[in-house]
Amino acid sequence: MKFLVCISNVPDTTTKITFTPDNKEFNKAGVQFVINPWDEYALTRAIELKEAAGSGSVTVLNVGEADTEPNIRKALAIGADDAIRVNAAPQDAYFVAEQIAAVAKEGAYDVILMGKESIDYNGFQVHGMVGEMLGIPTVAPAMKLDLSGNTATLEREIEGGKEIVTVNTPFVASCQQPMCEPRIPNMRGIMTARTKPLKVVPPVGEPARTTVAEYALPPKKQGVKLIDAANAGDLIKLLRNEAKVI
């Protein structure tokens, strides 16, 4: 089984988000980038399934410029076998999906795993686009993924419940908790990652269909109104009469 795991390079979850003075770009200064937390589920589950089968390969793929390589190496250290970087700034989700679809087709991957969504652009869309481009099913978001031969059984989260879905390879799935316990690199992994193949390929496809004109931060809160714990019931009156939310 050939697994392709798509990883996005995102600001660490503790990052205080700021923009350049013209509000046109995210301010990267001093920001630590990590593998998108949801993509760690995809990566770990692919490695687990490969290990369970005793054969196969896990390739990681990132669409990004050279500054994403430390996190690609980290994915190799966690246990992927090799990596591909499509050398381009990710212009928009459609552009990213085109790159992933092209790589997936070229390499004839059986299982294409992604995270539920990126924590920076929160698109929740690349997996659906890739499935459609390749004409194969996408199961998103998946909480569970098991393989038996060429057949996968997944649990897909829906509002208020879950669906059990069975699909044959090839397919796309986007992963989220509680699929597995994401692994962290160990010393041996870090050593071997240095020599694992990382191929850089040029981008393909059409120009982007969306552009970000401007970014903005949410409006600041007015400040908290404190209510004495002894008169906690007063809060309820305020919520009804002042905030009018109950």
Partner: protein
């Protein structure tokens, strides 16, 4: 040219988030000088669909194919694409739900459309551009996105716009068939399992939410959270560590790596207010924090706060709500 809105139904009712979608779509249609048509998915009921007139919908298309009751990605995509072609829809609006996003992303490829998910406001259409505001950086920011494609697809964030109601107006319900075949249902779920929801209120759709963190000390104390939630007609939620140790089910976990919600009221009980938690809830309209530590970071993001012990405060709040009702 028209605007097509996708309304999700369950148990015969139109979901609340889809009423928002319908109303939003009707307003976009008015901006563009055209009308809005709805296409229903899920378990729909014709009489309820007609009431979408109250949200400004002129016509509702309904395919009575029984297998459309459960979500089937391929079949839904084909159904909506067929409706979009028939209605010559330039703009398609869906809910930013698991269904809406899954279908919207496939449609954007099939119809060669520009897609924006997590949209929070009506588009700006001045100056020949079509610009939408969407949430980004997990609730920490917004971005204005220009949709340059001839066709546009918008997935509207729940509870970010209000559904208009013009009582008494009805929509025409027209039967519609996308001529779906067995092949379109190949990815149908083999089983659908619904959760037991406290009081039947789904967290992603809830207008009010009572949430507990590690300060609740253990799952045995969640009765205090549930009692207040029940009295308020609220859904329950929790912080990540709480679901990690299985005090609460994973689908209640809100935050940067859980679900993002924007209810009218969010009450945080014994939650410190870590940046990853705030990301999931800071677009709530009113935030109430109950924490025994006056230095807890959550107070900085709150509208109302009580510095106190949850075990003392929560029963008082529940009693006060009951008194008010």
């Amino acid at each position: 040219m028209s605007v097509l809105v996708v309304v999700e139904c369950a148990d015969g009712e139109v979901k609340k988030s889809s009423l928002e979608v319908a109303s939003y779509g009707a307003q976009v249609a008015a901006q563009l000088g055209t009308t809005a048509t709805a296409i229903a998915v899920g378990e729909a009921n014709a009489a309820n669909l007609a009431t979408l007139g109250e949200q400004g919908i002129a016509k509702v298309l309904y395919d009575a194919e029984p297998r459309l009751k459960d979500f089937v990605n391929n079949a839904y995509t084909k159904l909506i694409a067929t409706a979009a072609e028939q209605e010559q829809a330039k703009v398609i609006v869906l809910a930013n739900s698991n269904i809406g996003a899954a279908v919207g992303s496939r449609l954007s490829v099939r119809l060669k459309a520009s897609l924006a998910t997590n949209v929070v406001e009506l588009p700006r259409t001045d100056g020949g551009q079509f610009v939408v505001k969407r949430g980004a950086f997990s609730g920490k920011a917004f971005s204005d996105v220009v949709l340059s494609g001839d066709r546009k697809i918008i997935a509207l964030k729940k509870n970010s716009t209000e559904a208009k109601h013009e009582a008494g107006k009805t929509a025409e319900v027209a039967s519609f068939s996308a001529q779906l075949s067995d092949a379109d249902f190949a990815d149908a779920p083999t089983q659908v399992v619904m959760q037991d929801q406290a009081g039947g209120i789904l967290l992603p759709e809830a207008e009010r939410v009572v949430s507990g963190g590690r300060g609740m000390k253990g799952p045995e104390n969640w009765g205090l959270i549930e009692d207040l939630a029940k009295a308020l007609g609220a859904a329950t939620a929790c912080s990540k560590p709480v679901s990690d140790v299985d005090w609460r089910p994973h689908h209640e976990h809100v935050g940067q790596t859980g679900i993002t919600i924007s209810p009218n009221l969010y009450i945080a009980c014994g939650i410190s207010g870590a940046i990853q938690h705030l990301a999931g809830v800071n677009s709530s309209k009113v935030i109430v924090v109950i924490n025994k530590d006056p230095e807890a970071p959550f107070f900085k993001a709150a509208d109302y706060g009580i510095v106190g012990d949850v075990f003392d405060v929560l029963p008082k709040l529940t009693a006060a709500v009951k008194e008010l009702n």
